[in-house]
């Protein structure tokens, strides 16, 4: 019964973008690539230090003019061992699981950096555990936040 047949249209939508990191983002990504250093910036009014560094402190509406080098280490604030399947919108393919998605509070910083932790054993992961950045080796860093390969738990 063709009247009852329901048609679906399948499309592999593929939209290329070339997003600019901007002034502060470029500053951070250059430092990461060239010097293995994580940069933040400090609001002159509330003294909060932000990562990634940005053009404005939202609550104060002021440029956080002072650029600061952050420690590559900090504490795990929250995490999730991702076990469910989903499409990675960057590739159109399933993102490999499991992996650990984490919010990390770098020493000297007031907000969190979203990144990965190379640990999926829940017994070794808990809020407050110390972690540190593992950088890609010299020559492999290209100016992306993924130049930090992941964070690792420091025993």
């Amino acid at each position: 019964m063709e009247k009852d047949e329901l048609i679906h249209l399948h499309a592999d939508v593929d939209l290329p973008y070339r997003w600019a990191a901007g002034r502060y983002g470029s500053m951070m990504l250059r430092a990461l690539r060239d010097r293995k250093v994580i940069l933040g910036n400090r609001c002159p009014q509330c003294n909060k230090v932000y990562v990634p560094p940005r053009v404005v402190c939202g609550p104060c509406f002021i440029q956080p003019s002072e650029v600061v080098e952050l420690s590559p280490a900090g504490i795990l604030v929250g995490y999730s061992v991702v076990n469910y399947h989903f499409i990675d919108p960057e590739t159109g393919q399933k993102r490999p699981v499991p992996y650990t998605y984490a919010y990390i509070k770098l020493d000297g910083c007031d907000n969190y950096l979203s990144h990965l932790v190379d640990e999926t054993d829940p017994n070794r992961l808990y809020p407050g555990v110390r972690v540190e950045a593992v950088f890609r080796p010299d020559g492999d860093r290209v100016g992306r936040l993924q130049d930090i390969l992941h964070f690792r738990v420091v025993d």
Partner: protein, 383 residues
């Protein structure tokens, strides 16, 4: 006549690529600029409207990138909303929120970086996915169908449209914010690369990066500020059918309707006689006469003739796009708010080198959404 005025404004220069700035940086620049222009602090603003598009930005909830930068996170946060569409629609919604009595001041911001996405794929995405998208049609192909229909119905020529490009790119020579400015000859336009017949390279607006911001205030606030307010005297919007084949593309009944209602609100009876200046959305050269006619400035099919005779020239009786228009800079969505800002600058007498001669007491600004100007917003500004 409404109780809302534009009391501050700012725009970035429009350029092909702004690799030095991300969305937040563009918005912070124009937010600070508009506040400064208004003589206000961010704390004086109780309502924010951001305008952006998730396809152009490559980001669902594209407004997230600019919440901090527009000031809506200030001091524990303020009321805010987001319009996805042309900047004129953002202005309209910002106004509504003042007229409703809920807020006194509104900062409207809009950004777009055409350099970051693929215009053809992004505009293909606005067509229906069953019957039209599989054909690969996008904004310019659709516009070409409209241009051809308009030419055939009203016996117009490609030369008629070329004169619009010559005028607007020429006007852009006086506008430091414009991206494309040139003294073009008729031959140059006619000989430019064919893109989608009858449209050639010089008939088509560029792809631009940029941002703009406007501060709106209720009468009670506006009258207390040092700046001369530019009043929103009338405003209206309207959409017509989606499928290109449902429309007579040589007509724009939605624009006719919006213009009529905006004139009614502003108390305008004879637009050609009463309005001193027009900034309209000329994404393609043919759009200027088509929109101009539907705005009631002349009869159908006469718009191109008026341009050729110089009636819409910089020094003509009714200058149209003295800024150079969208043909000279086209940051999508920003472009409509840029029309508003350009018209408001002319009313203030602060348009610099591009200030037209004679007083500008009443001006029309215009924005569009969707393929071939499916949806329109008409804004009447005045002293």
């Amino acid at each position: 006549m409404t109780d809302v005025a534009i009391v501050g404004m700012a725009q970035t220069p429009y350029r092909r690529r702004r690799d030095d700035a991300n969305f937040a940086e563009l918005i912070y620049e124009v937010s600070c600029g508009a506040l400064q222009d208004a003589g206000l602090e961010v704390g004086d603003i109780d309502n924010f409207i951001t305008v952006s598009n998730d396809f152009w930005d490559g980001r669902t909830i594209s407004s997230m990138a600019v919440q901090d930068a527009c000031g809506s996170s200030f001091d524990g946060g303020r009321n805010v909303s987001t319009v996805e569409g042309d900047g004129t629609f953002g202005l309209l919604y910002g106004m509504m929120r003042i007229l409703s009595g809920a807020y006194r001041t509104t900062l409207v911001v809009v950004h777009c970086k055409g350099s970051e996405g693929n215009m053809r794929l992004i505009t293909n995405g606005m067509f229906d996915y069953i019957y039209t998208r599989p054909l690969g049609i996008e904004a310019t192909g659709a516009a070409a169908l409209q241009a051809r229909r308009y030419m055939d119905k009203y016996k117009l020529t490609e030369e008629d449209f070329a004169h619009v490009s010559i005028k607007n790119r020429g006007n852009a020579l006086r506008n430091p914010n414009a991206q494309l400015a040139a003294s073009l000859s008729l031959d140059e336009v006619m000989a430019s690369t064919p893109i989608a017949s009858p449209l050639k390279l010089h008939d088509i607006s560029p792809i631009s990066d940029g941002a703009a911001a406007v501060v709106l205030a209720h009468r009670n606030v506006a009258n207390k500020l040092g700046r001369k307010p530019v009043w929103v005297k009338g405003i209206a919007h309207c959409s017509e059918a989606h499928f290109l084949g449902d429309r007579d593309l040589a007509e724009a009944p939605a624009l006719r309707d919006a213009a009529f209602r905006a004139y009614q609100m502003a108390g305008i009876e004879d637009p050609f006689a009463e309005i001193d200046l027009v900034e309209l959305y000329d994404a393609y050269s043919y759009m200027e006469p088509l929109w101009f006619e539907e705005m009631g400035f002349c009869s159908k099919g006469e718009g191109a003739e008026l341009t050729r005779l110089g009636a819409t020239a910089f020094d003509g009786p009714l200058p149209v796009n003295p800024s150079g228009g969208v043909l000279s800079a086209h940051a999508v969505m920003v472009a409509g708010l840029a029309r508003v800002i350009e018209a408001a600058l002319q009313i203030r007498g602060e348009a610099g080198e591009r200030q037209v001669e004679g007083p500008v007491e009443l001006a029309l600004a215009h924005g569009i959404n969707g393929p071939c100007g499916q949806s329109h917003c008409v804004v009447i500004l005045g002293e």
